[in-house]
Point group: C2
């Protein structure tokens, strides 16, 4: 258990392990990006830039435009353009073939279609990294029994698709990855994930407790994406810039952190795990204060009348709070409002 | 103090007093309706119907239309039409002259213009009935020192102006009235208020504790008008018909009742006052469940981009809760959202 739940000691262990493993750090991997929205396209382009063989699953106007113009990424970390002649796009994942890595950039609302989409790309040694919002990891392990390993990724990034084939990365960008349903004997798998990202410009770190990583992300996502949607679709600067909403976001973030720590305690037991606390909250606030008029994807979906990610982003964390007996009146009110918006506007 | 805070014993006292007072119950009064929106127009028309001399202060398209077509009221309690030839309209309250009664149908957002509007109609024996949302009564006593007495009125009614000169009364309709800033020696004044309404079709009752009456109204208004606005402008049937919003409304109503009782305790002291409780809440829910797609005036103002009544309807009751040490997280979140909407859309 110590290995699973102790980020403080895990870094050293991983370092030692890597020194001895002798795996080449610049191995060229085949990667399928399934779900080439803003997040999938951004990280896929960074993998391509670093020399990996990246194959994008795309559809509709995005595919049509990319066929002609290629993929364009405007990024504060350096612009990228993959010309149409170099861009590998596929309208059916069956044509992608077996790959080393499947990177999922899907929304949690698409969880049930994952097996049919992903299976054609999986071989005996294929690994899956789900850069998906919400606590979907355990379900993914069940949905994809063929995968060698399933990882979860948390993207701390402000990125939007501003038109077909054009991605705008406006702020931040680190990726945090960890194993879904951890087995201590499998921890060396994390090295392979690190190797995938090592040659890229993406600041990548691993977490031995994916659960903690998910809560780290949720500590931002629940108050900020949540208030953005509950208030009918407002941008992050409107939340941090309003004296009242700012206090609500702080209140909700504190509640999320309380649930997170109760959940980590329940999973890890004992005292040998690192709670989320002031340092993380301060970091999330510093980021938010500098984020500008960012539109979270849930808010974009709301305004576009598309399905919004409610179940895995908001409802399940609330259910978890209740199951753990943590009092979360502000989170409860906000999630209830979001669920009501989903019902009233039929955004399923 | 017993007189002020004991509705249970007050009814008998009032009855005894009326028997001996010998005031004729069908005296024709002169009445100025200041603020001829939906509420002012409806109750003004009922006073006119009963034979009182009613003078309406009107402006803009409403005045123009009434000049030509008169005032039309479609009402579940019986339609009314005051033809233009009978309708007394005034575009300036100075032309109305001194009246027995000034009935204020203004919003609390108009509080500061009340003295200039009302003063021209006040003589030594003029009385004021403010059918205004919110806890404005004490301020009105200070703003109108010339008035013989100032009363507050709570309109439990669903009424909207559907076009200039046309009022639609869809549901319920009782009026509850009481003295602002009660002086026990002044309680006989309530008889005069009763006499004003006695010949009308309006179910009218008095309350010896206006504070309790205001809270009775707020127990509906805060959760229902509040959620309507906080959710971006939805109708009452959408609140009672959604499983989540229904629970939120119940939660908020319970919080309001808790504040109400703490406030009544603080004002009345001892045990000799009647708390708000289940019976009142059940009544408010029965009404709401049968109200249909009603649009509260605050929600209409929100959607029209007009000033919304936030201070006296929502912010002050919240401040009162905090001053009394009552925990109201749901009300806090909702009021904060409404205040933020007011700021962001500049609805002052």
């Amino acid at each position: 258990m110590r290995l699973i739940c102790t980020p403080r000691s895990y870094g050293r262990l991983l370092q030692r392990h890597m020194i001895h493993s002798g795996v080449p750090s610049n191995k060229r991997c085949t990667v399928a990006i399934i779900g080439a929205g803003a997040v999938g396209s951004y990280y896929g382009a960074r993998l391509h830039e670093a020399g990996h063989d990246v194959r994008f699953f795309m559809r509709g106007p995005n595919l049509d435009t990319c066929h002609v113009n290629g993929l364009t990424v405007q990024s504060i970390a350096g612009d990228m353009h993959i010309p149409a002649s170099e861009l590998q796009t596929f309208s059916n994942t069956k044509d992608i073939g077996e790959v080393d890595w499947v990177v999922l950039g899907l929304k949690s609302t698409a969880l049930q279609v994952v097996p049919a989409l992903v299976r054609p790309c999986l071989g005996q040694h294929s690994r899956v990294l789900a850069i998906m919002n919400g606590f979907v990891d355990d379900q993914l392990v069940d949905l994809l029994p063929e995968a060698r390993s399933v990882f979860g990724g948390m993207a701390f990034i402000c990125v939007n698709r501003i038109s077909p084939g054009v991605i705008h990365h406006s702020f931040y960008g680190p990726l945090l990855g960890g194993l879904a349903r951890v087995d201590p004997n499998q921890q060396h798998e994390l090295e392979l994930l690190e190797q995938l990202w090592q040659p890229t410009k993406v600041p990548f770190t691993t977490t031995p407790t994916l659960l903690r990583g998910r809560w780290e992300k949720s500590a931002w996502n629940i108050p900020f994406s949540g208030l953005s949607v509950a208030m009918g679709g407002i941008t992050i600067d409107q939340i941090v810039g309003d004296q009242g909403l700012r206090k609500l976001a702080k209140q909700i973030m504190c509640e999320v952190v309380a649930v997170a720590n109760a959940d980590l305690q329940a999973h890890c037991g004992g005292d040998d795990w690192e709670p989320l606390g002031e340092a993380h909250m301060t970091k999330m606030w510093d980021l938010s204060d500098n984020m500008g008029p960012y539109r979270p994807s849930t808010m974009i979906d709301l305004l576009a009348g598309k399905p919004i990610e409610v179940e895995y982003l908001f409802s399940q964390p609330l259910q978890r709070a209740w199951a753990l007996g943590v009092e979360v009146p502000y989170m409860h009110m906000m999630v209830t409002q979001i669920e009501a918006i989903q019902r009233m506007r039929n955004l399923f």
